[in-house]
Symmetry: C2
Subunit: 158 residues, 2 copies
C-alpha cells in the first residue's frame, strides 16, 4: 500500500505521515524499489491510533508514550494515568477560556452598543492595570467578581 492509500485508510494526511516518521513517532516505513513508502495493515492501524489520539487533543509527546504503552502491552494503570494527565490539561485550558469568555461577556453585556463611542469594553482594555503580581480575580470585570470556582486562571496561557 502506498502513502496515499494509507492516508485514506487512516485519516492521517500524507504530509503528516511523513512528519510522524521524521520525528520518530512511527517507525520508518519500508520502501519499494523506486523509493515509495510501503505500508502494511499493521502500520495503517498505528496511524489510525495516532489519528484518534490527535482527535482527543493529545500532544505528540503524550501520544508517543501511549503508542509505547499500547505496543508494549503495559498495564492499563499507566494508560489511564497518561489519559488523566491529558484530561487535567484539557480542564486547565477550558478554565482559562471560560474565564476569558465570562469576563468579556460581562463587559459586552454592559455595552449598550449604539452609535456612541463610549464603551465599557474599551474602557477595560484602556484602563486595566498590567498584572503587577496580584493575580486573584484580575481577569474578572468589575461587576460580579468571583462568581466562578475557576476564576483567575487566565494570563497563564504558558
Amino acid at each position: 500500500m502506498n502513502i496515499g492509500d494509507a492516508s485514506k485508510a487512516s485519516g492521517v494526511s500524507a504530509k503528516m505521515i511523513r512528519y510522524y516518521e521524521r520525528i520518530g513517532l512511527i517507525p520508518q516505513a519500508g520502501r519499494s524499489l523506486s523509493g515509495y513508502r510501503v505500508y502494511t495493515e499493521g502500520e495503517v492501524n498505528t496511524l489510525r491510533f495516532v489519528h484518534r489520539a490527535r482527535e482527543f487533543g493529545f500532544p505528540i509527546e503524550r501520544i508517543r508514550r501511549l503508542v509505547s504503552l499500547w505496543q508494549g502491552k503495559q498495564p492499563s494503570r499507566e494508560v489511564k494515568r497518561v489519559a488523566m494527565e491529558h484530561v487535567a490539561e484539557l480542564e486547565r485550558r477550558i478554565a482559562e477560556l471560560t474565564d476569558m469568555r465570562m469576563a468579556l461577556q460581562q463587559l459586552a453585556d454592559a455595552c449598550v452598543g449604539d452609535h456612541q463611542p463610549d464603551c465599557p469594553i474599551l474602557n477595560d482594555l484602556e484602563h486595566h492595570a498590567p498584572a503587577g503580581g496580584l493575580a486573584a480575580g484580575s481577569m474578572m470585570a468589575s461587576a460580579g467578581r468571583a462568581r466562578s470556582p475557576i476564576a483567575g486562571a487566565a494570563a497563564r496561557r504558558s
Copy 2:
C-alpha cells in the same frame, strides 16, 4: 522612556513590543540619538490596551481592529460586534475541548486501571474508524452518547 520601562509599565515584554511594532500593530516608536526606542505615556497606554486584549485571548488581527476602533472613536456597536465575535470563537474552542474531555473521561471511567493491559482507552484509539464523512457523534465514547448539546464539535480544530 526606554523600551525596558515601557515594558514594565505596560506588562508587554520588550521582545513583544518590537514584534508588535514590526508587524505594524503599533506605530514605529521614536528613536533617541543613539537609536534607542523612546516611548511616551500615550504609547505606553496603547501597549497596555494591547496587553489587556491579549489577556482576553484576542488574536493580533482582531486587536488591530480594536485599536483602530478605539483610536478612531468609532461607535461602540462596532466594538461590541468584534468582542462578540471573539466570544463566539472562545465558545467554539471551549466546546471542542469539552467534547474531548468528556469522551476521554468516559473512557477513563470505564478503564479499571490495574495491572492488566486490557484498556477501553487503547481499544478506542485502536479501533475507532477514521472520520469518513459522517461526523455526528463521532467523538463520543460508546457509552452515553449524545448526552451533551455540544457533541460532535471536535476534529474541527482549526
